[in-house]
C-alpha cells in the first residue's frame, strides 16, 4: 500500500504494478527472531539442567573422590569403601561388549544395506530390529539370565554380562550403521564396481571407510548407554560385593552403576556420598567416551578431504 504513495518524479509506474516496498537490509523478520530466541532458550535449558545435575552429584561426592576411592574394594565402612572392582568391571564389560557387538552389528548392517535383496525376509528383519531397539532393558536381563547364565552355564560372569549388554546395543548399532552406510554416495560403489572390484572389495575399500565416522558415532553412543545400564545386570544377578579385580571373562563382576545402586539403597547417608562419587566417575567416563566419538569422527572426516 505504502509503496504506491511514494512520489517519484521519474516514475511512470501505475498503481497496478508498483514495486513492493523494500525492507531495510539489516532487519530480520520478527518471526525469525522469535524462533531464534526460542531455540536458544531451549538449548540453554537443556544445558543448564545437565550442568546442574552434574554439579549437584559432583559436589555431593566430591569429598570421597580421592585416590583411595579408586583403589579400594567395597567395605562395610563407607569411608574405606572404594570402586576398584566396579570400575575395572565396567571397563572389562565395555571392552567385551564392544568386541562382541561391533563386528556382529556392523556385519549385519553391511549385509542388510549392501547385500540383502529387498525381500519379505529382510523387511521382517528390519521391523524386528526396530522393535528390539525399543524393548526395555530388563527384558534383556531376563533373556541373559535364562540363556547365558543358566542354559549356557556361563554363570554370573563378565561374559554373561557382556553378551547381555551386546544384545541390548545390537539393534542400536545396526540401525546407526545402516544409516551411515546409506549416506555413502552411490557413485563410490558404482565407480569401484565398474573397475572390476568385487562386492566385498567395494564395501571394504570404499563404502566402509566413508561410513566409519557415522558408524563410530552411533556405536559409541550405544556403548555409552551400555556402560550406564543397571537393570539388565541386576536381573542377571551381578554381584554387588566383589573384592577382586576380574582376571578372566569368567570372573564374577560388578559394575559402576550396580555399585552406585547398591550404595544408594543403604540407609546410612555416608554411603550416599559414595554413590554420588561413583556416579560422578561414571559420568566423567561417559563424557570421555563421547569426546572419543567426536575425535574419531573428525579424524576420519579430515582424512577424506
Amino acid at each position: 500500500m505504502e509503496a504506491t504513495t511514494i512520489s517519484d518524479p521519474r516514475s511512470h509506474t501505475s498503481r497496478a504494478w508498483a514495486p513492493a516496498k523494500k525492507r531495510p537490509l539489516l532487519a530480520r523478520p520478527v518471526t525469525e527472531r522469535i524462533f531464534l530466541l526460542l531455540a536458544r532458550g531451549i538449548i540453554s535449558l537443556a544445558l543448564l539442567t545437565l550442568v546442574a545435575l552434574i554439579a549437584d552429584v559432583a559436589m555431593d561426592g566430591m569429598e570421597r573422590l580421592t585416590w583411595n576411592f579408586f583403589v579400594n574394594f567395597p567395605s562395610r565402612k563407607a569411608e574405606n569403601a572404594g570402586i576398584l572392582a566396579a570400575w575395572t568391571g565396567s571397563l572389562w564389560l565395555l571392552l567385551l561388549t564392544i568386541m562382541i557387538a561391533l563386528p556382529i552389528g556392523v556385519g549385519a548392517a553391511v549385509y542388510l544395506e549392501e547385500y540383502g535383496r529387498r525381500s519379505f525376509g529382510t523387511k521382517v528383519i528390519e521391523v524386528c530390529i526396530a522393535n528390539l531397539a525399543g524393548v526395555p532393558s530388563v527384558i534383556y536381563g531376563i533373556l541373559g539370565l535364562q540363556v547365558f547364565v543358566r542354559a549356557l552355564s556361563f554363570e554370573r560372569s563378565l561374559l554373561s554380562g557382556a553378551l547381555t549388554l551386546a544384545l541390548l546395543v545390537l539393534p542400536i548399532i545396526i540401525m546407526a550403521s545402516r544409516e551411515a552406510l546409506r549416506t555413502v554416495p552411490k557413485g563410490y560403489r558404482e565407480g569401484a564396481l565398474a573397475l572390476g572390484a568385487t562386492k566385498w572389495q567395494t564395501t571394504w575399500t570404499q563404502v566402509l571407510p566413508v561410513a566409519i565416522p557415522g558408524i563410530a558415532t552411533g556405536c559409541i553412543l550405544a556403548f555409552s548407554r551400555a556402560i550406564g545400564e543397571t537393570a539388565p545386570l541386576i536381573t542377571l544377578g551381578a554381584l554387588t560385593y566383589v573384592a577382586q579385580v576380574p582376571d578372566s571373562v569368567f570372573s564374577p563382576f560388578t559394575a559402576l552403576p550396580i555399585q552406585a545402586f547398591n550404595w544408594l539403597s543403604r540407609p546410612q547417608p555416608e554411603f550416599h556420598t559414595n554413590a554420588a562419587a561413583a556416579i560422578t566417575v561414571l559420568l566423567a567416563f561417559m563424557i570421555m567416551l563421547n569426546i572419543v566419538a567426536i575425535l574419531i569422527r573428525n579424524r576420519y572426516q579430515k582424512r577424506q578431504r
Binding site: E190, L195, G196
Partner: protein, 284 residues
Amino acid sequence: MKGSAALVFREIQSTRKNQEIVMNGVHAVRSAAHAPKVEIANVELFYGTYKALHEISLSIPSREVTAFIGPSGCGKSTLLRTINRMNDLIEGVKLTGSIRLDGVDVYAPHIDLIELRKRVGMVFQKSNPFPKSIFDNVAYGPRIHGSRDRDYLQETVRQSLIRADLWREVKDRLHTSALDLSGGQQQRLCIARALAVNPEVLLMDEPASALDPRSTSKIEDLIGELRSDYTIVIVTHNMQQAARVSDTTAFFYEGRLVEHGVTKELFTKPKEKQTEDYITGRFG
C-alpha cells in the same frame, strides 16, 4: 568404408584438431579392417514390468567412437550399462537377447563379471573420484586386481594420467585429495582411473554434461586421442558433441533403436523422419 566416410566428415567438422588429421589416414585403414567389438542382438530389457528397451540389435565397431543419442529416457544410458552389466545392480532388471564382447555372450552363465568390467571400463555422468588421493584413485583398479609392486603402480598411474591429459596439472600433487580438483579435472581423473586397468572398451555416460565448455572440449579432444586404442561408446545429449567426436551414431527413441549409421550420413541424410526431427531440433 564407414571409417573413411567418418574421416571426411571429421575433417570438415573439426578445424581445431589440425594435428590429428594427419593421423586419421591411419585410422581409416585400421577401422575398415576391424570386426565388431560388441554385438548387441535382440536385446530387450525390463525394469520390473516396464519394458525399457525394445528389440535392439546393433554392432559396435572396434576402435571407433560410437555415439548413442536421443531424448531423455530413451534408453541410451540403460543400453550402455548393459554392456558392462552395471544394470545387474538394480533390482528387478531382466534382460533377454544377447550382448557379445569379442563373440562371447556377456550374459551367459559363469561369466566372470570382474574380468568383464576390467575389459569394459566406464566413466559416469557425474564424476565420482573416490575420497582418496589422486594417486590412490588411479592405482585403485590395479591394486584391487592384485598389483602391489610400487614401481609398476607408479608407472601405471603416470601413464594413465598422461593418457587422460591430466599429468601436467597434477604431477606435483599426486598425494593430495582428488576431491580438491576442479570438475573437469575430476572427470579426466575418472577417465585415467578407468584406463589404469587397461580396458578394451570404454563406456562414457554423458561424460561432459556437467562440465563447462572448456572442460568439455578437453574431454572431446581426449576422446579423439583415445579412439586409436580403445573402442569407445559415448552417450550424449549434445548432438554437436556426437557429430564432433563419433564415427558412428545410433539414435534411440522411446526404448527403440530408430537409426544407426555413419555419423556424417546420419546427421546429413537421416533416413528416418524421427531422426531428422530430432537432429534438427524439432523435438527432444
